[in-house]
Amino acid sequence: MMNMAWKEMKRNKGRFLILGSIVFLVSFLTFMISGLANGLSEDNAGLIKDLPEGHFYMTKEANKTYNLSRIDNNTQNDIFAKNSNTFALSIQMGFLNNHDGKQQSVAFVTSTQSKWFQHVKKGEVIFDRSVEDNGIKIGDTLTNKQSGGKLVVKGFVHHSKYSHVPVAYINMDDYKEMFRTSDMQLMYIPGEDKAPTFTGLQAFSKDQFLNTIASYKAEQMSLNMIIWFLIVISGMLFAIFFYMMNVQKMGLYGILKAIGVKTSSLFRMMWTQMAVITVIALILSIALSEVFNHMAPKGVPFQFTFEITFQLSVVFLIIGFIGSTLSGLQIKKVQPLQAIQQGEM
């Protein structure tokens, strides 16, 4: 059938433009919040998120709170013996002072040999690059007031943050001195489909582990709730808009049915309009979000990823399809006879 959907949109630009702008605004807001959620999650737990799929272990007594977990050397050695890729790690929040006495909050991270974490010699530290904004440079010496020890800045890495503060990779000996413990909090076994069990230890997948971090869970849950709420709103928008359009067009549908137009063609017409509006609105909001991604102020943790954007776009299309189809169910009920007996549309 000729492109009725397109012709109607061309002829009634105003009303379709209104729907398109609302869908654009809702999808743009959704992408912005999704970018923010993603940025915040990187800011909060980039250190963990950037690891490959695998399993974390902490002691059962820690009751899902990793910084209460203490895995002693014997247990660590048992696990190392059985799994070659494994490493142990600890994360502790703290701060370092520069030569002016100014404090820099950091997340101290140390681990046994692993290719995913930075390793330094005793007395050295590698930071997340964000500390450069506070004037810290390679070669600077920072003091740890807890232990009185000094750390020399050896380098910087990108995207290594934990709990919204930069990570400071330190040597295990420095860590033991600072926090007066030789135990490690966590063990990590990458790439295992099914977590092997170890006595006294509890296994967590990466996602499960991220959800044990209270701030991470609360932050992501609230933002995801907003995202889904916006998606539902967009679905309702389509349903209400097409319902109103269809009510106005009942007579037309009846006449078209009378002259032999298939009901499925009328549905296709509505779906085409929904798809055209959604795709144009999505392209515009993706483009604008990408612009914001490059222009966002440094302090805004905004991260726009193709994967999430693509997933959300598909969800928008599915929701638009469901919304318009639900409202279009009236088309099925239209009787040609009623339309003929009605007056002019």
Binding site: M1, M2, M4, K7, E8, K10, R11, N12, G251, L252, I255, L256, K257, A258, I259, G260, V261, K262, P336, L337, A339, I340, G343, E344, M345
Partner: protein, 227 residues
């Protein structure tokens, strides 16, 4: 030659426990190249008969035979295909698609009927048809800019562009003034003859009967006179 036969058609509506017989065993046949006018007082059953004949509603009893097949026994999809390809419709109001131009209205009908004509042939056919209904000068106009009479001319062109076998017209002049009504009826009569179509026209306007080859008068669900 009879192309379309209505045989003992009855229609009964049930409202609660009350049964009302709208059509009480109606028989008629349509000939190619002829306009058959169906007339009668309001409520006589003429519009119901037309809609049953056109496959827009079912009969309670009886047969509607078109090209040797009984429409009342067919599946809805089969009836739809016949409506799209072999029937043409003109209603009291033009009921044109508001967002299509005059020529697009005809193009839509060619699409719906499954016409095998190519783009060029379609264009030629549309131009020819618009010339026939004297609307070729308004082919890019939208319905909102047409007068009542012009709309009805376009509706007639839409109804016959796909060369149907039967043209059903339900009160095609009811919304027009006397002069325009005569023009429209004359057009239906001329096209019916020229294109060798069988036309069934429902009208309550006695003046319009002069354009019919056959007149069938209905009263109380029955045919009371055939002229």
């Amino acid at each position: 030659m009879s192309i379309f036969t209505i045989d003992e058609v009855r229609k009964t509506f049930t409202n609660g426990e009350v049964k009302e017989e709208i059509l009480k065993g109606v028989n008629l046949s349509l000939q190619e190249g002829e306009v058959t006018a169906l007339t009668g007082a309001s409520g006589s059953g003429k519009s119901t008969l037309l809609t049953i004949a056109a496959g827009l509603q079912s009969a309670s009893d009886g047969q509607v035979i078109f090209e040797g097949e009984n429409l009342t026994a067919m599946k809805p999809e089969h009836v739809r295909k016949i409506r799209a390809g072999k029937f043409g419709f003109v209603f009291q109001f033009a009921h044109l698609v508001t967002f299509l131009t005059v020529e697009e209205q005809l193009l839509l009908m060619l699409d719906v009927s499954g016409s095998k004509l190519n783009k060029q042939e379609r264009k030629r056919e549309i131009d020819k048809m618009l010339k026939l209904v004297e609307m070729d000068h308004r082919k890019t106009a939208y319905p909102t800019s047409l007068s009542g009479g012009e709309k009805q001319r376009v509706a007639i062109a839409r109804a016959i562009i796909h060369q149907p076998k039967i043209l059903f017209a339900d009160e095609p002049t009811a919304s027009l003034d006397s002069k325009r009504s005569k023009d429209v009826m004359a057009l239906i009569r001329d096209l019916t003859r020229k294109l060798n179509i069988a036309a069934l026209v429902v009208t309550h306007d006695e003046e319009m009967l002069s354009f019919a080859d056959k007149i069938i008068k209905m009263s109380d669900g029955q045919i009371v006179q055939k002229i």
